[in-house]
């Protein structure tokens, strides 16, 4: 929170100073809302005689004119008041916390002062989080926290995010940060279903040490979200609306010179390929402005046509999306209780035609004090979201890229009424009309979430708190996926070697729930003994995770349009699965402070888990950290005037994580048999097949050992703030789900093997350029260097496939960065030049796959700036990631279709492969530069660009993943309340404009899409591969108006 110098104190500065004799004055210290601030300290800038305010904020002090009073209190900005002629003062303190006294919620919901914490911790306040008005909190955190990589792994109406702190540790298990909402561990997806406006702050515990108390899931660090509570003595009502437009920000690069056709249809007198009415591939005639037939003539004799000139219909296919977000909240509090109630409704239409999404959230939070010894706290939220989207984004996108770039895609929108857009008359027999695909393959999904936490705190004696807490996060979901029927006419099926074939209708209906219960019971004892502060915690935790999935499906629906599983032919498909896992944890925590500048902290926790065998289910892990505030220990540092804070910290930890796979890892220990393979059961005849997963019989938890050291340095009276952390961690006994040769009789093996390592630097630095009553300007940023490696896997397993798409795959390879992109390359000489045939000029594909790039960004930078001028606030955030590569699988599709810009690189002419060599016929084994031997066929359906020698070579589509993004830009204006007159009904009004991901600067060789995307999805460690499954990246911009009553 910003330090705001109160108006009153400014007025006082301007008052004249007259007397100079000592006298007694009185005053009252209040907060911005007029509530008393008890026990504030009142000192004089020069001279003796400090006093403290009483419970009601009142104080008396002896002063003389010319004195300056320094009023300070924990959690408030220090105010300076010059003594004037007046004998009664009201001092309004702006809420603020000096960085070191800020109270941070850490593991287990325990509140610690920042100065006590020996590990890297970042706090993001609500204002920062919601500056860009993102509907997803993950979006709002992007680029703001050092060491925290948040990647939107797909586009769409509710994108998924991958949350990784300090790199990946587990080879095939979960690497995502633990999400904790109001002290309850919740599934990652809850983050995307939380109303960002409800959030008070987010604390990011970067390392496993800081979060060790959360149990075995904490080895990935933790994101602790705390929602708002009401404030004592104050009733506030907020109402706001934000409307945001979404627009595609980057399109794949398409060639603009050649239309449909290809060499397979013959060459004209000039040796150029004929255009062809049927061919979808764009290897035909150069754009010449001539109108030509498109597709075969229809049954009625009419024929579609297109002019051979570039048409940017590919880009116009995507819609402009609109998000409308309406918020309401009311909060209130009195001596014994607080209350906060909020609601939000967000309605989204996406860039993909027809995609819709909405989300409604309700929240009730409160506290209630009962007597002096009992305090009850509750926070409850209900969220429901609804999707109505296409299931075929990937094939729709592929269909679209297969349309020649002279064809205006948008004219095929009305496929129900337009005969050329209708599948019967659509010109392309191989690739559907993308509008039809989007309309015909639908999914409706419903998710209802309830997250709640109730807590009872009993304080029998001062310093001892006994806390019991019960949390629940439950999701109830259902979905219905449908495919509409389409019966082609006989003519359509048999015209011009058509491969059009009827689409039977089908429906798949699923429902599921998952419920996570978390019970905490712990005691905390705090005591101050002379120079020592002592804090002990002992507790126990029970976790139960349970889920169930049921799915039924039917095909060949009989009554058209009736998407019900009872309407199919044959036996409906049916599946059911149930999971339950439990964990018991017992933990202890101590923190000893010495003279408020040296703090030692240690934790120990033992977990017992249900998903491992009896002999391996119990494991213990400790952590320790130390914090030393040099500026408090040695006044001399501070008094030099330059350094206002110098803190050293260090931590070591060991955390065990059980990583047996999805659904809490339940039931992973025994081989299984499937009863529904190959059509079984047939009537009363049952048949089982041996499962394909082998399980090692001694599975253990993965153990992450980590250490970190850091410095917090503030200078120039805290105008410059900075934090520096070096971290290093090693994870052993990796639980690896790896593919094995099918000749073993199985296809994958679950075993403990391997070690990963990550180390790096996290730094943040901010500087207040200007800070006065009218202006405040702060600039700064955060930087992360990450070196994330696989040290070894196992003796007979040196690489591990994590995900793949087309010819590219993401692998963990011993001794390499984690992960790397692997695939085929061209055979090269020692200098890395491509070896071509001295006869054909053609290169050769390598026999085996090799490492083609590192898929994890080595360097990440977030730059932010904020400017306040009177009632105007402006903020900007840029993010850079660099030092890594991605494989773009869509490239092969674009080259196949001939729409890709690479295919026109040599104007579809014969060309000499750049930077190539061929073997010196005189000196075998040595290579001479190739300047003359050209690839003959630089064109055509069976030319270089469509052939395997281009498209099957992975390295052709591996590009730099580097990018800069203008993540956020916002400008807000607090409308002066006086314009609402004296009624005082409206206490505040703010209007703002904001944008997210407004600009995207990609590396020059990246012709395809957002490198943040991962075709493997947000839960897979096999990053580095993008596919067609995501709509192109978007920019968002919109306006908000909010009222406070």
């Amino acid at each position: 929170m910003r330090k705001i110098v109160s108006l009153l104190s400014m007025l006082m500065v301007l008052s004249t100073l007259t007397f100079a004799q000592t006298r007694s004055i009185s005053g009252k210290v209040t907060d911005a809302n007029g509530n008393p601030v008890p026990a504030a300290s009142i000192k004089k800038l020069k001279g003796e005689g400090a006093v403290a305010a009483d419970q009601n904020g009142n104080f008396k002090i002896n002063v003389k004119n010319g004195d300056v009073l320094v009023i300070s209190s924990v959690n408030y900005a220090t105010a300076r008041i010059p003594v004037t002629a007046s004998n009664a003062y009201t001092v309004t303190l702006a809420e603020s916390v000096s960085a070191m006294d800020e109270v941070v919620v850490t593991a287990g919901g325990i509140k610690s002062k920042r100065k006590e914490i020996g590990t890297a911790t970042t706090v993001i306040q609500a204002a920062t989080l919601t500056a860009g008005k993102a509907t997803n909190i993950a979006n709002g955190l992007q680029g703001k926290v050092a060491g925290f990589q948040i990647s939107g792994t797909g586009g769409g109406v509710n994108p998924s995010f991958r949350l990784i702190l300090r790199g990946q540790r587990s080879l095939t298990g979960n690497n995502q940060a633990l999400v904790v909402l109001d002290n309850v561990v919740v599934p990652n997806e809850v983050l995307g279903n939380l109303n960002p406006e409800d959030v008070e702050n987010v604390v990011v515990l970067n390392g496993s040490g800081a979060s060790a108390l959360y149990g075995s899931q904490a080895s990935n660090g933790a994101v602790i979200v705390t929602t708002k509570k009401g404030r004592k003595g104050l009733t506030t009502i907020n109402v706001s609306n934000t409307t945001t437009a979404e627009q595609v920000a980057f399109y794949p690069k398409i060639q603009t010179k050649f239309g449909a056709g290809g060499t397979a249809y013959g060459l004209d007198a000039n040796g150029n390929p004929y255009p062809d009415y049927l061919e979808n591939q764009s290897y035909g005639a150069r754009f010449d402005g001539v109108k030509r037939a498109l597709g075969p003539a229809l049954e009625d004799g009419s024929q579609d046509s297109a002019v051979y000139q570039f048409n940017d219909g590919h880009n116009k296919f995507w819609n402009n999306g609109v998000t409308s977000q309406t918020d309401f909240s009311i909060s209130n509090g009195d001596e014994n209780s607080t209350f906060f109630l909020s609601g939000q409704y967000a309605d989204v239409t996406g860039t993909t035609p027809g995609d819709k999404y909405n989300r409604a959230t309700l929240r009730v939070n409160g506290t209630r004090r009962m007597g002096n010894k009992v305090m009850a706290t509750y926070s409850t939220a209900y969220t429901q979201n609804r999707y109505d989207i296409t299931t075929e984004t990937g094939s729709m996108y592929g269909n679209m890229l297969n349309m020649p770039s002279n064809v205006d895609i948008t004219k095929y929108k009305n496929w129900r009424t337009d005969k050329f857009a209708n599948p019967n008359g659509y010109y392309n027999p191989w690739y559907q009309n993308p509008y039809f695909t989007a309309d015909n393959y639908r999914s409706k999904q419903r998710n209802d979430y309830l997250t709640a936490n109730v807590e009872l705190k009993f304080t029998p004696i001062a310093g001892l708190d006994i806390i019991g807490r019960q949390g629940i996060a439950t999701r109830n979901a259902s979905n219905k996926n449908t495919i509409g029927e389409f019966n082609y006419t006989y003519f359509a099926e048999h015209t011009d070697a058509s491969s059009k074939t009827d689409i039977p209708a089908s429906v798949s209906d699923g429902s599921s729930y998952s419920t996570n219960l978390l019970t905490d019971f712990f005691a905390q004892y705090q005591k101050k003994v002379n120079k020592f502060t002592l804090n002990f915690i002992g507790g126990a935790q029970l976790t139960q995770n349970q889920s169930k999935y049921v799915n039924v499906s039917a095909n060949g629906l009989v009554v058209p349009g009736l998407f019900n599983v009872s309407n199919g032919v044959g036996t409906p498909g049916a599946s059911e699965s149930n999971y339950m896992a439990r964990q018991v944890g017992a933990y202890g925590d101590f923190r000893i402070g010495y003279k408020n500048f040296l703090f030692l902290h240690g934790t120990g926790r033992n977990d017992w888990v249900s998903v491992l065998s009896t002999q391996n289910r119990s494991f213990f892990y400790p952590s320790a950290d130390i914090s030393f505030i040099a500026t408090d220990a040695f006044e001399s540092i501070k008094s030099s005037g330059k350094i206002s804070l110098l803190k050293f910290r260090a931590g070591v930890s060991k955390v065990g994580q059980v990583n047996l796979g999805s659904e809490f890892g339940a039931y992973s220990l025994a081989p299984t048999f499937g009863g529904s393979a190959n059509g079984f059961p047939y009537g009363s005849l049952a048949g089982y097949t041996v499962g394909n997963l082998l399980v090692s019989n001694n599975l253990k938890p993965e153990i992450t050992k980590a250490f970190e050291v850091g410095v917090d340095l503030n200078m120039f009276n805290d105008r410059l703030t900075s934090t520096w952390t070096w971290f290093s961690s090693k994870t052993d006994d990796q639980t690896v789900n790896t593919a094995v040769s099918s000749t073993t009789g199985f296809t994958s093996l679950l075993t403990n093997t391997g070690q990963t390592q990550s180390q790096g630097l996290e730094a943040t630095l901010h500087y207040d350029l200007v800070k006065n009553s009218d202006w405040s300007v702060t600039v700064g940023g955060n930087y992360t260097y990450l070196d994330n490696n696989v040290n070894f896997i196992s003796a007979d397993l040196t690489k591990l496939a994590l995900s793949s798409n087309g010819s590219g795959a993401s692998y963990a390879v011993a001794g390499k960065a984690f992960p790397v992109i692997m695939g085929f390359d061209y055979k090269r000489d020692n200098a890395g030049r491509v070896i071509v045939s001295s006869v054909t000029g053609l290169p050769t594909k390598t026999d085996a796959i090799s490492v083609l790039g590192n898929a994890t960004a080595k360097n990440r930078l977030g730059l932010d700036g904020s400017v306040r001028y009177k009632q105007f606030r402006f903020s900007v955030l840029l993010e850079y990631r660099g030092g890594y590569q991605i494989f773009n699988s869509m490239g092969t599709e674009m080259d196949w279709s001939g729409t890709g810009i690479r295919t026109a690189a040599y104007d579809r002419q014969s060309f000499v492969y750049p930077n190539s060599v061929y073997e010196d016929p005189a000196k075998p084994g040595s290579y001479v530069p190739n300047t003359s031997v050209a690839i003959a066929n630089g064109n055509g359906n069976n030319g270089f660009w469509t052939d395997g020698i281009n498209r099957d070579v992975t390295s052709n589509y591996v590009t730099s993943g580097d990018f800069w993004k203008l993540r956020e830009l916002s400008i807000a204006y607090d409308v002066p309340t006086k314009i609402f007159g004296k009624s005082n009904v409206i206490k505040g009004m703010t209007v703002s404009l904001q944008g997210r991901n407004l600009f995207l600067w990609l590396a020059k060789d990246n012709l395809y899409t957002d490198p943040e995307y991962s075709s493997a999805g947000s839960n897979n460690n096999g990053i580095g591969i993008t596919g067609l499954g995501s709509a192109p990246p978007s920019r968002f911009y919109g306006a908000s108006i909010s009222f406070r009553f």
Partner: protein
């Protein structure tokens, strides 16, 4: 004051300690019960041989369906159809991934048989199950060797004890497979002598629990192995049990029906899905096989009409020929002759694709007879019917299978049709055995008739026998009736054909140290191939 404080603190600390202690202790005792919830409620964790065998045999039908496509698509029995492009290595033969999909499913299926063998080992009550699984294991391993030559055998199917199985030479596998069949026949005898032995019963979806047929099947399979390995493998025992060879078609049928996932796999792939939607339309009959019906090689309009849609105007092509004018496949494909093209009602045909409920052939009686004919010709067997009799029996059995309806009934007078066939092709040595004078001619006639009998049914066997015997004869420079080689073949061989498919990429990735190197599709031969 300080002293008191310290005491107070120590007391508080010990209270806390006791508190934690009680908590941990309490948890410890009730912990076990609370945590013992890891029993899988979703999937079975143990099953009996009775439950695995029917699925395993049914799986084999699906595996064979994959091999059938692989064999047919070399051009033997089918070619690319109109309306599709991008056939790539399927028509250039420059294989990298074509045909490798069968590898994984075969081993997956083999693991099922191995599990039956493992769970019934040492238990005489399961002798029949052990025997049936062993015979089916042999069948699958022969498929692997015939497709890939050296494959993991000795080390295979051992789970985590052998994660990177070594490769065994195809020859050595052949030798052991023959011995395994002897073991299987002995196991059946052991079962016969074991009181209370578990009968195969309904678990046997191949022979309905008839152990005599299992023994005949074992003998015939052994015959196939010995005939093919003849001269290259030294078999331990080249005699056959007294049970004789198969005289009926060996068909897998667990109860195939027009239903979700329960259709005859070939019907499901090539004709219609159970919903009535079209199967694979990208392929059509090849000119080469068509020549054995329309008179280019042999006149056989009867079977042509029984097999092909709209015979003789069926759409046909030569592999590799791509053109806009190429005929596209009708819905339901060319391999069933019925004029009824309603996918929701079609079925009950004779020919190749008989219906969704038809049994799936593992081995035709015709193949049994042609194998015997060849064995009699080259002296592998020396007693029983003579070569010419066996040859004619083979043809009759082939006609019989063609005219079989899904329920097994034959309403056509097969003997008359065969007689007409012989008259029409009198003195054509491929049909009229008396016209085949030399042993080479006789072998050509036997293999060619087997080639016709296996048309699109056991296409892989047609392809194997071609590679072993070079029959049916082709003229490499000829048109599509004279050769089945692709018109855009990149093969460096005189016959313009490939010799084999590659090992799957997965072996290079997960078993790279063991997988044989330097295999090419034009120079590497299966050990029995020419």
């Amino acid at each position: 004051m300080q002293q008191v404080n310290k005491k107070h603190l120590i007391m508080k600390k010990s209270i806390l300690g006791i508190f934690i202690g009680i908590l941990v202790l309490g948890l410890g005792t009730s912990c076990k019960k609370y945590l013992d919830v890891n029993t899988d409620p979703n999937r079975a964790s143990s099953v009996t041989p009775q439950l695995i065998l029917p699925q395993a045999i049914t799986y084999t039908a699906a595996v064979l369906n994959g091999y059938n496509s692989y064999g047919a698509q070399t051009g033997l029995y089918c070619a690319n159809a109109g309306g599709y492009g991008g056939f790539g290595e399927s028509i250039t033969y420059n294989y990298t991934t074509t045909g490798t999909g069968t590898w994984g499913s075969t081993y997956d299926n083999l693991e099922d048989y191995q599990t039956v063998l493992n769970t019934s080992a040492g238990n005489n009550l399961y002798s029949y199950f052990s025997a049936a699984a062993r015979i089916m294991k042999v069948l699958n391993f022969q498929l692997l060797v015939d497709t890939y030559n050296d494959v993991p055998y000795v080390d295979a199917l051992k789970g985590s004890t052998k994660l990177t199985p070594t490769y065994t030479a195809g020859k050595d596998i052949y030798k052991d497979l023959a011995s395994q069949l002897d073991t299987a026949i002995a196991e059946i005898a052991k079962g016969d002598a074991t009181p209370g032995v578990t009968p195969l019963g309904s678990s046997d979806v191949l022979f309905g629990g008839n152990t005599t047929k299992w023994k005949q099947f074992a003998n015939t399979l052994k015959l196939r192995i010995i005939v093919r390995g003849n001269g290259k493998v030294t078999f331990s025992n080249t005699t056959f049990s007294a049970d004789g060879f198969l005289t009926t078609d060996a068909l897998i049928n667990p109860g195939y029906a027009r239903d979700n996932g329960k259709q005859n796999p070939a019907w499901n792939t090539w004709a219609y899905a159970y919903t009535g939607s079209a199967g694979n339309k990208a392929w059509m009959p090849s000119q080469f096989i068509f020549g054995f019906y329309d008179g280019h090689s042999i006149y056989d309009a009867a079977r042509g009409r029984a097999i092909y849609y709209q015979y003789p105007s069926t759409g046909i092509n030569r592999l590799g020929v791509e053109s806009n004018t190429l005929v596209s496949s009708p819905t339901g494909g060319f391999w069933h002759a019925s004029a009824n093209r309603d996918g929701k009602a079609n079925g009950n045909n004779y020919g190749i694709l008989k219906g969704p409920n038809a049994g799936y052939p593992v081995m035709l009686a015709a193949e049994s007879y042609f194998l015997q004919a060849e064995a009699r010709l080259n002296g592998i067997i020396t007693t029983g019917s003579t070569t010419d009799v066996l040859f004619d029996k083979g043809i009759t059995a082939a006609f019989n299978y063609t005219y079989q309806l899904p329920d097994g009934s034959v309403t056509v007078k097969v003997a008359d049709t065969v007689a007409a066939y012989k008259i029409k092709n009198l003195s054509n040595p491929l049909v009229d055995f008396t016209a085949a004078t030399s042993d080479a001619q006789k072998l050509e006639a036997i293999i060619t008739q087997k080639f016709i009998a296996l048309n699109f049914v056991e296409s892989y066997e047609g392809w194997n026998e071609y590679r072993r015997t070079k029959y049916p004869s082709i003229v490499a420079s000829g048109d599509g009736y004279k050769t089945f080689a692709s018109s855009v073949s990149e093969s460096t061989r005189p016959d313009k054909l490939p010799t084999r498919v590659m090992y799957p990429v997965s072996e290079g990735t997960y078993n790279g140290a063991n997988v044989p190197k330097n295999i090419t599709p034009f120079t590497s031969l299966i050990f029995w191939a020419q």
